[in-house]
Amino acid sequence: MLMDFPDLFALEIPHHTVSLPALTTLDLNIRAGIPSPHLITILSSISSAPALDSITLERECFCVDLSYQDSWVDLDRWLTRMAEHTRVQGGLSVILRGWPKGGPSTPGFREGCR
């Protein structure tokens, strides 16, 4: 399990994992302004998505709750692993929709992705 993403052991590992060999697009609509621990658990259940070439992160709220900073760290870590393991030529694209430039909670994964 999790052979493609060994570093994900640092995250909460769900009981069931799934390989998505045809998945090319993942859209995440973060309404609450923060990625929930539940989302992290779901994403961590994806053991492999080698064809993934685009992840869209859409935010509808810009409230910041420092108590949830760990969620951003976990999401950053997951996105970075995805970017490292994609087999798509040109790498993984992360599209930020509804994010203010230079606003709070800017995730660090942007530096790790093209």
Binding site: P21, A22, L23
Partner: protein
């Protein structure tokens, strides 16, 4: 001496609009707001058909009277303006169990591709009616919002539509399960849906569709769906796009 009086009637100058090619007229009409389409249908005869087609490509019934009037005004005419309808919506329209009204409204819509049902009860008798009506074979998009029904009925309706490509179910209240022996199962060799969207599902419908073997290329789900992994698992080989909402 004879005087000849000649009367010359002045011909109206040719309308510039009459010389426009039909493709250009169609393009103009296609870019008009819906509120202008009644007026545009009165410009010239050449404007009428396209304007009417756009007016009538989406219709919505919000009362049973409207359904009756539609059936009376546009009876069996497969080439009439009822053939322009591609989308039909029923909102809080049909009394529970009144299949006759439902059937009347649908039967002369020979171009129908999208059915939207909002705030209605789906009668348990509907799945048995579907194979008898040609119109259901043409439906490729089905949107069920705020419906109430049994799980058996919802899944049976979905599986009865042979050409369904997009299924969207939102805030449905589905009661009662069924014994495993009578569980509806998807026919063999059925292609995956292009989109399966479940919003506001408490798990019942998602679980029932999953158990039936329905697969999809695009799943659109609430992130807190109680059976997320069970929904993704059957489509794992075919899933191209995953959309998660509301985390």
């Amino acid at each position: 001496m004879q005087i000849h009086v000649q009367r010359r009637t002045r011909r109206p100058p040719p309308l510039a609009m009459n010389s426009l090619p039909q493709e250009l007229i169609d393009a103009v009409i296609d870019n008009l707001p819906r509120s202008s389409l009644f007026s545009s249908s009165l410009v010239l005869k050449r404007w009428r058909r396209r304007s009417q087609r756009r007016v009538l490509e989406r219709i919505k019934f919000i009362s049973e009277d409207q359904v009756d009037r539609w059936y009376t005004d546009f009876p069996q005419d497969p080439k009439g303006i009822a053939s322009y309808v591609r989308f039909v919506g029923f909102q809080n329209t049909i009394f529970p169990g009144n299949l006759a009204t439902f059937g009347c409204a649908l039967q002369n819509l020979c171009s129908l591709t999208t059915l939207w049902v909002n705030g209605m009860e789906i009668p348990d008798e509907l799945p048995a009616q579907i194979p008898r009506m040609e119109v259901w074979k043409r439906i490729i998009i089905l949107r069920l919002w705020s419906i109430s029904s049994t799980l058996t009925t919802v899944v049976s309706v979905v599986l009865s539509l042979p050409n369904l490509e997009v299924l969207s179910i939102s805030r449905a209240t589905a009661g009662l399960g069924w014994p495993l022996s009578s569980h509806p199962v998807i026919p063999p060799h059925r292609a995956p849906l292009d989109l399966l969207e479940l919003r506001g599902d408490d798990g019942g419908i998602g679980r029932a569709l999953t158990r039936s073997g329905l697969m999809s290329r695009h799943l659109s789900l609430d992130v807190d769906h109680p059976d997320m992994d069970q929904l993704i698992m059957p489509s794992s080989e075919t899933l191209v796009k995953l959309t998660l909402y509301g985390m």
